[in-house]
Each structure stands twice: as C-alpha cells, then as structure tokens.
C-alpha cells in the first residue's frame, strides 16, 4: 500500500513540475496584463478574483455539480460510441458488403459537425440530455471506428494464424487477439474521441443545456457570461482545462503505460 502511494507521489511530482513552470508563467503574464489595465477589469479579472471565484463556486458545490453532470453525459456518450464502434467494426469484418457500407457511413458522417445537426436532433430526440448524448456519440463514433478498423486491419497475419492454430473461436479471436493487438490504434481513437466529445459537449450545452436545475459546464459558462460574471467563466474554463489535463496525463498516460507501454507496443 505504501508502495502504491509512493509511486503515485513520484508520478504526480514529475507531472507537477513539468506543468508547474508552464502554469506559473501563464499566471505571471496574466497578472502583469491585469496591472497594465489594457482591458477592462470586468473582462480581464485579476488572478485573485478568478481564484476566489473558482474556490467559491467549488465550495458551494455548483461547479462540481455541473462538472459531474457533464462528465456523466460524456461517459454515457463515450460508452455508447465505443460499443457501436466495436459492433460496426465487427460488421465490417464479416463481409465486404458490410465493410463498404460502414466505409460509406464514415465518409458521409465523419465530417459533419455535430452542432450543425442540432436542429434535426431536436426534432428527432427532443431537447433533453438525449440530444446532447447523441451529439457526443456522433463525435466519438467515427474517429473511434476509423481507428479500430485501421487497427484491426493492421493486425499481423501471423497473429491470426496463431489464433487459428490454437483453434480460437471468432469471438475469442476478436477479444483475445484483435483487440489487444489493435490497442495502440484504439487508444489513439479514444484520445481523439475524448477531445472531440468534450468539445461537442461544451458547445452543445452552450446552445441548449439547461432543463430546470440539471445542466452542465457548457451551460454554466453561457449562463455566467449572460450574468457578466467573467471570473466565474474563467473558473469554469480552468475546470475544463484541469479535466483535460487529468484525463490526458493521468488517465490516458497511465492506461498506456500499464498496457501497451509495458508490452513494448509503443514505438518511442
């Protein structure tokens, strides 16, 4: 147990120092800009005001609740997107006809910005969380699918032969050989999907996110903007950045380190 804590501390320390310099730099530049009064204080608040707003909004639970709401939506959306991409990849592997079909869908759907679909999504799915989840699934599915399919099709022939040699069933072949062998691609897909989903979520919420009391970070930002509470807008942006860093540095980094890194499947 102590060992684990130690490891976590070392990890945090490395990341911490890497980022710390960067953050201190930004804070200093920010504060200097603030003192020049080039911009009105209402639009360009001091570091302290932003910090106070962040602390207050975290302490009163509002920001945490909104963040939780957004993360829940993104979790559901990503899960659905991943399941769908596995199903589609499976279909594409079964036959050439399906493969052509999946290729066509990707070609058509991938470049469509989810936000552009909103008016139609409203008509189909209404105004609730479902519509936002749809936008997230849309932004997750295609990059995920593209990468999974690339991964699957670049699995060495040898691995397939090995699997056949030891008489693995199709399902076991997918889960025992194809998925682990495609992990570098799947992770790449996950990272792109995460970034897109996060952006899609915030923008979709800024357009229509609130329903009674339940709403997410995107809506929080647009509401604070409406209220002209600029420090709170920055506080929410900080939360968004922190989550980005946490997911990128802690989650994906660790995931890769503990899997494909450990297995020598990353070319470094």
């Amino acid at each position: 147990m102590g060992n684990v804590i130690k490891k976590v501390l070392v990890l945090l320390k490395n990341l911490f120092f890497k980022r710390l310099i960067f953050f201190i730099g930004i804070i200093v530049v920010w504060q200097v800009l603030f003192y020049t009064k080039l911009y009105p204080v209402q639009m360009f608040p001091s570091v302290k005001t932003i910090w106070d707003s962040l602390v207050n909004n975290l302490a009163n639970g509002e920001l945490l609740a909104k963040t939780g709401f957004s993360l829940e939506l993104i979790g559901i959306g990503m899960l659905i997107g991943m399941i769908l991409s596995v199903i589609f990849t499976g279909l594409a592997m079964i036959s050439k006809v399906c493969r052509n079909f999946v290729d066509s869908i990707i070609t058509i759907a991938h470049p469509l910005p989810g936000i552009a679909l909103l008016p139609i999504i409203i008509l189909w799915l209404g105004l609730g969380s479902n519509a936002i989840i749809f936008v997230i699934v849309h932004s997750v599915l295609w990059p995920m699918l593209l990468n999974t399919m690339t991964g699957f099709s670049s699995v060495p022939k040898l691995y397939k032969q090995l699997g056949q040699n030891i008489e693995m069933s199709k399902i076991k072949l997918v889960f025992g050989i194809y998925i682990p062998a495609s992990l570098p691609n799947i992770y790449a897909g996950l990272k792109i999907s995460w970034a897109r989903a996060w952006r899609a979520l915030i923008s979709a919420e800024m357009i229509f996110g609130a329903s009674g009391t339940s709403s997410g970070l995107g809506f929080y930002i647009s509401q604070k903007r409406y209220d002209m509470d600029t420090p709170a807008v920055f506080a929410a942006l900080i939360v968004i950045m922190l989550i980005g860093i946490l997911v990128e540095d802690i989650f994906f980094n660790q995931l890769e380190k503990r899997t494909i890194g450990k297995w020598g499947m990353v070319s470094q």
Partner: protein
C-alpha cells in the same frame, strides 16, 4: 407636416445640446473636436432591431455626420454586445434592460443611450390547459422555454408567477433555456416544451400558427417597459459627444420614419425580415409594439432585480445607468407621450 418637421428639429436640437453638456460635465476639459473618425455600432437580427438596420441602409447617421465612417456589425447574442462595449470594440449596441442593469451592477462602463422599442412579449401555449399557470404541475413534462435564465422573459414569468401562484420562483423548475428559433420549432412540433415565453417576430408567427398568449408581458410587468434599449460606452460618450448627439438625432428620425410607415423604411424592413408589405405593416401595428427613444419601466425592473437578487445594489438615480440622452427623455412623458415621442409618431 411642416409643423411636425419643425417640432422634430427643435426637440432634436434640445436633446443634442443636453448630450453635449452632459458629457462636458462628465469630463471637464475635454475638447469637442473628434479624435476618431468612425462610429462602431452593433445590433442583432430581428424586427425589434429594425431602427438600426433602417438607419444603416438609408444612411441616416451619415446625413448628420457626412465625414464619419459608421462601422456596422451584426452580433449573435446580447452577451457579445456588452463584451464589445466593455472591450471598446463597440461604441453603441442594443441590449435588454435586464442585462444592462447586470452590467451596471458588475461595474461595466456603459449606460443606456436611448430607448429603442417596447414590445408585446408573451407566454405562448398551444394547449388551453396551460392558459393558467396553476396547471403547470409536472416540472419534467410541462417545460417552459425562455432564452436564458434571468432574461426579461424569465423575469416576466416570475412576475406572473408571483401574481398567480404567490411565489416568483414557483416555475423555475419548469424552465428550459432555449434560443427563440429552437423554442418555436419545439413548441409548434410539441417537442418537450409546452410553453414559450416569446418575443416578436416569433410571438407573431406562433400566434398565427395557433398559439395562444397565456401571460401578457405588460400585464405581468404592470405597465409599459422597454424591451430593448441602445447602450453606449463611456469612452464613446466622453470622447465623441458630438457624434453621440448626431446618432441620437438619426435614431430619432429613423424611428419617426418607421412609425409613420415611410415607404423606403418599410421596404428595408420587408427585405430584411423577408415579409410581405401587409405582414410587415401588421407586425409594426401590432398592439404594444412601439418604437421610441424614450426608455420605459427602468426603475421598476431595477427594483425587481434587486428584490430577487439578480443585482446586488439598487441604482440611486437614473443617471447611474443612463446617459443624459436617456435621462433627458424620461421625465417628460407623465400623462402621455412626450413632445419627442409625438415627434417620433408614437402610437
């Protein structure tokens, strides 16, 4: 006709001189000589903003200031207007009184330059059941669309809730923040919402398509109020008082043209709003629609916003959040339209 023109000139001259003296007081020693050759003005899309685009298309400001370049921007949201004014990238913009009071409360350096329009706002429902606010019983099903929490639509709904249900926040759980076009689509297609606190032209088209007004904005407010006002930055008022006076005169003239259904002005509105002449006239004549440079209902709204906590302090006087161009017109209308409003052909 001649008499009308004469009174217009007199009033405009009066207002312009008021503007000038007001600004000189604010910044002693400032010269009246222009230091910039441009005026940056922003408005948003919609019939309510018509005095601005008519003024732009008919080059009415240029009539008063032939050597000045006017830069027009069409923005997508009121937030962008206040940000532009605060950042100095705009001189004059259009916004609601509620956001302006919020801006004043937060210390933004901008004030009301003039009134723009009083509009009939209303809670539109399709189902007769919802004609009474008492029948909104399921927060997850009986959703009410408003453009944003704390918007004038939300405030009017709260005022109506206070009157009908005894509690201003009674319907807050039922709110769904939605832009007007989306809300209109959702209401008419019966998707997720049952009511929309609407404003023109959405109010007009929703009513035309079978919507009924369950709550009238003026009833809820208890009188006339400005739906939109024009707002000018402190920098502009300090540095360009002469321009400010000219813009005020141009705006006054434009509003006069619109109110008298001047052919050229109506043509501009028709092409911008993609309306037939009949519909355009019908919309302009809609009961409650009044274009006027006089702001209405300011103190009442400020008091309400303070009461419900949307703003932290109560303005001590109009001049806290109004430039002299606006304060000059407020006191003049007791008992009926003022000289200025009559000059602008107010109904």
């Amino acid at each position: 006709m001649k008499r009308r023109m004469l009174s217009l000139v007199i009033v405009l001259g009066l207002v312009a001189s008021l503007a000038l003296t007001g600004c000189n007081e604010a910044k002693p020693g400032a010269t009246n000589a222009p230091t910039v050759g441009t005026i940056k003005i922003a408005y948003q899309n919609g019939l309510s903003y018509s005095p601005f685009y008519v003024m732009q298309e008919m080059k009415i400001i240029e009539k008063y200031l032939p050597n000045v370049k006017v830069e027009w921007t069409v923005l997508a949201s009121g937030s962008a207007v206040s940000e532009g004014l605060a950042a100095g990238s705009l001189d004059i913009g259009v916004m609601g009184v509620a956001p302006l009071l919020t801006a004043w409360d937060k210390g933004f350096s901008m004030k009301i330059f003039s009134g723009l329009v009083n509009s009939p706002l209303g809670l539109v429902v399709l189902d007769d059941k919802y004609m009474s606010l008492k029948n909104f019983t399921e927060p997850n099903k009986d959703k009410i669309a408003v453009p944003a929490p704390k918007s004038i639509q939300h405030i009017l709904l709260s005022m109506a809730a206070q009157k009908q249900l005894g509690k201003a926040t009674a319907l807050d759980e039922y709110l769904k923040a939605l832009a007007h076009p989306d809300a209109q689509t959702a209401l008419l297609n019966k998707i997720d919402i049952v009511a929309h606190f609407s404003s023109p032209p959405f109010l007009f088209s929703e009513v035309a398509k079978g919507g009924k007004v369950a709550v009238d904005g003026f009833d809820a407010f208890g009188g006339d109020f400005s739906f939109l006002v024009s707002v000018a930055s402190k920098k502009f008022m300090d540095e360009q008082p002469a321009y400010a006076g000219a813009v005020y005169m141009a705006m006054s003239e434009t509003i006069g043209l619109i109110n008298s259904k001047d052919d050229a002005a109506v043509q501009v509105i028709m092409s911008k709003e993609k309306l037939t002449k009949d519909t355009a006239i019908k919309y302009l004549d809609w009961a409650g629609t009044n274009f006027t440079t006089t702001p209405y209902g300011l103190a009442g709204l400020a008091k309400y916003m303070k009461d419900v906590g949307y703003i932290e302090k109560l303005p001590a006087s109009y001049s806290d959040y109004c430039w002299s161009t606006a304060t000059a017109t407020i006191g003049q209308r007791a008992g009926g339209p003022s000289v200025l409003e009559k000059a602008q052909n107010r109904k």
